[in-house]
């Protein structure tokens, strides 16, 4: 379980990105972090991935303060796929997938590549194994990036705006196979796309102006959003 308590963060220029955020991401569910752009979603994701030091508040991972988790362990437990994916352009898809398995986790290259090919097969992009990322479509690149993270078998997996590069059809397709992968890891999906969140997530939190405007089952949040009860609500 990941538990966020009293989290606040301001950027160097004084902009407040998060204020007193409290939220829990339990195991066994797909969670969504919703909100308009500028609501603090990505800041929260960066904090959860410890790419950002937050002076106020606490994030705990299975009761341990996130700051006390050793780097290697943290990276093994929490995977991140950024909005821009950041596939490595100088490596083929297969090499992209195998790189961290071999170098960060010390698995034999043969075994790593076999696992990578299995994963590509599962995601239906086996044919791209020898391609360079520049050749991939948006949907293929999205899958490759998620595959690269999943192969490290993280406990939690953070996805930042995973649908931003996808059209409506591929978004539906993506939602479908994300459901198939839910037994592998616990997804936390940061997205502005409420419809997408409704298709894949059960629980959610809605950020507005850096504060939590709503939390709970996803349907409930969406009802509130539709009713205008949370949108644009001034920070209290």
């Amino acid at each position: 379980m990941i538990e966020v308590t009293g989290l606040s963060h301001a950027y160097g220029d004084g902009t407040e990105a998060l204020r007193d955020v409290n939220v829990v991401f339990p195991r066994g569910t797909i969670s969504a972090v919703l909100g308009e752009s500028g609501s603090g979603k990505t800041t929260l994701l960066m904090a959860l991935g410890r790419f950002l030091r937050v002076p106020h508040g606490r994030i705990s991972y299975d009761e341990t303060d996130l700051n006390d988790v050793p780097e290697a362990e943290l990276r093994r437990k929490i995977g991140v796929v950024f909005q821009k994916l950041y596939l490595f352009p100088h490596l083929t898809v297969l090499e992209n997938l195998a790189l961290a398995m071999v170098h960060a986790q010390g698995r034999p290259r043969k075994e790593a590549e076999a696992a990578a090919l299995d994963m590509l097969e599962r995601l239906g992009i086996r044919a791209t194994a020898e391609s360079y990322p520049v050749r991939l479509s948006g949907g293929q690149a999205q899958r490759a990036a998620i595959a690269r993270g999943l192969l490290l078998r993280p406990d939690y997996m953070l996805l930042d705006e995973p649908t931003s590069a996808l059209d409506a059809n591929t978004t539906d397709e993506f939602a479908a196979w994300l459901g198939e992968l839910r037994s592998d890891t616990n997804f936390i999906i940061v997205t502005h796309d409420v419809l997408f969140a409704r298709k894949v997530a059960e629980m959610g939190v809605y950020l507005s102006g850096g504060t939590v405007a709503a939390r709970g089952p996803i349907e409930e949040i969406i009802r509130n959003v539709r009713a205008g009860r949370v949108v644009g609500e001034p920070a209290s």
Binding site: G79, P89, L99, H103, A104, G149, L152
Partner: protein
């Protein structure tokens, strides 16, 4: 013996050897600068002495030049042998440029200059001269067709007259005949070429040398007027070497008394003197290939060292702030903002002043490595900058360590982006090696100049040298283009 002969580099072996040489030479004690225990004739019988190192240009026939077999020969070379023999010391000849020949003596790169240096008060303030070993004089030469009009220096008022740069003739002309337009040249070959090109009305050179050269080159130039002045030619040594000076004077006196000096003079200038020499094709090819081997060896060694240095420097530059970055920035700007030629001369002549005597090759490799490092660090920096910061984030998110992230993710991308400009820098720096001839490295340009000094065919040989460089650089330039095209294909976008 000579620099060139002392480096048995063949083109193939040169690559590997140049690097080794640079290191070995850097560590070598400055043999030339070691004070001798006693250099008088009395000490001459002792074996195992430091060799007598003597400088000359090797481009001043018939006093010093490379003969048909590419061996140093000439009156000065014979005198050097005779003097060393009388001192009981092994002879080591350093072929060096006239420009810096005195500076080299002062910085202890060799013991003496036996290179037809005229004794002048200016020079005598810096060095001690031996008694003169021959006497010659300054003579004006003109085209035979102009002989009627230009019958002496007075007739040359307002006309361009060629003289050797830094030679006594230049100073004489500026002092005694300011009405004559003095044009300075680095070698007689260039003067002859400009006589042919009608850029000069005449030239002043040594009476003996001039007559010999005119005949060798088959030009129709004739002496005009009387000797402008007489010159006494001596052997300079450093002022703190009185025993050496005494030894040389004793040797010269003995050569005079025994008649050897006159025999040598007759050999080179007598009526029965040998036909002026040319150079066999085989020798030309051998000299040029050996020179090019050294050129490539120096280039490869410098580029390799420079590149290895450029990576950390580029990383520091890429940081963009901090004292380290400012220091590296200042270094890079300074090196890039100053001529490599000046840097070369500074290292070659300056290093001995702080107690580090580097061989010419070591000086060249050191200077060019620093220059390469400066240029390449800038390229490495822009390569690193072109890599999206997100690549690093993604790599860290996958659990790669900081070092792995750099080695496996950031550097390979930066290197690919930097590749085309790096290759272009390699081309530019390879061409810069042409400059190292000024510090007497026997690379291809210097070898060509030696050949030209006896064949008098500058255009032909400079073309050949240009061709040799081009054969080396052209494939590199093609490669740069191809790598760049492939980079675009792979989608290495730099925004």
């Amino acid at each position: 013996m000579s620099l060139q002969a002392g480096w048995p580099l063949r083109p193939g072996a040169a690559l590997a050897l140049a690097a080794v040489f640079a290191l070995a030479a850097a560590a070598r004690p400055a043999a030339a600068a070691e004070p001798e225990a006693g250099t008088g004739p009395a000490a001459g019988a002792e074996a195992d002495q430091a060799p007598l190192t003597v400088a000359l240009t090797g481009k001043y026939p018939p006093f010093s030049f490379y003969d048909e077999n590419g061996e140093l020969a000439g009156f000065d070379v014979d005198v050097s042998r005779a003097v060393a023999g009388r001192l009981g010391r092994r002879l080591e000849i350093v072929a060096t440029e006239w420009d810096g020949i005195l500076a080299g003596l002062l910085s202890g790169k060799y013991d003496a200059i036996i290179g037809s240096m005229a004794i002048t008060p200016e020079r005598a303030r810096q060095v001690d001269f031996s008694e003169p070993y021959y006497v010659s004089g300054a003579q004006l030469f003109v085209r035979r067709s102009d002989r009627g009009d230009l019958d002496g220096i007075a007739a040359c008022a307002g006309r361009p007259v060629g003289v050797g740069l830094g030679e006594t003739y230049e100073h004489y002309l500026r002092r005694e005949h300011p009405e004559v337009e003095a044009v300075t040249y680095k070698s007689t070959v260039d003067i002859f070429q400009d006589m042919e090109n009608d850029r000069l009305s005449g030239f002043i050179t040594d009476k003996l040398v001039g007559a010999w050269q005119v005949k060798s080159a088959g030009r129709d130039f004739v002496p005009a007027g009387k000797l402008l002045f007489e010159e006494r030619i001596g052997i300079p040594v450093r002022k703190d070497r009185p025993e050496l000076l005494a030894g040389i004077n004793a040797a010269l006196a003995d050569m005079q008394a025994s008649g050897e000096r006159d025999r040598l003079f007759e050999k080179w200038f007598g009526l029965a003197r040998r036909r002026p020499t040319g150079m066999s094709a085989a020798t030309v090819v051998r000299l040029l290939l050996r020179g090019f081997g050294i050129t490539i060896g120096v280039a490869v060694a410098s580029l390799a060292i420079g590149f290895v240095l450029a990576i950390p420097l580029g990383m520091v530059l890429n940081r963009g702030r901090g004292a380290g970055c400012r220091a590296v920035r200042a270094f890079v700007d300074f090196v890039r903002g100053t001529p490599v030629l000046i840097q070369l001369l500074f290292v070659y002549f300056g290093a001995p002043q702080v107690g580090v005597t580097l061989s010419p090759i070591a000086s060249a490799v050191l200077t060019l490595s620093v220059s390469a490092a400066a240029y390449m660090s800038e390229i490495v920096r822009s390569g690193l900058m072109s890599v999206d910061h997100g690549q690093e984030l993604a790599a860290r998110a996958l659990g790669l360590s900081g070092r792995q992230t750099f080695r496996l993710v950031v550097w390979p991308q930066a290197f690919r982006v930097a590749m085309p400009p790096l290759i272009n820098a390699v081309v530019a720096l390879t061409k810069d090696t042409a400059l190292i001839s000024v510090i007497s490295v026997g690379e291809v340009v210097r070898e060509a100049q030696s050949i030209i000094s006896v064949t008098f065919q500058p255009i032909q040989y400079y073309l050949i040298v240009a061709g040799m460089f081009f054969v080396f650089t052209f494939p590199l330039m093609k490669l740069a283009g191809r790598v760049e095209a492939r980079m675009k294909e792979r989608g290495f976008v730099h925004d």
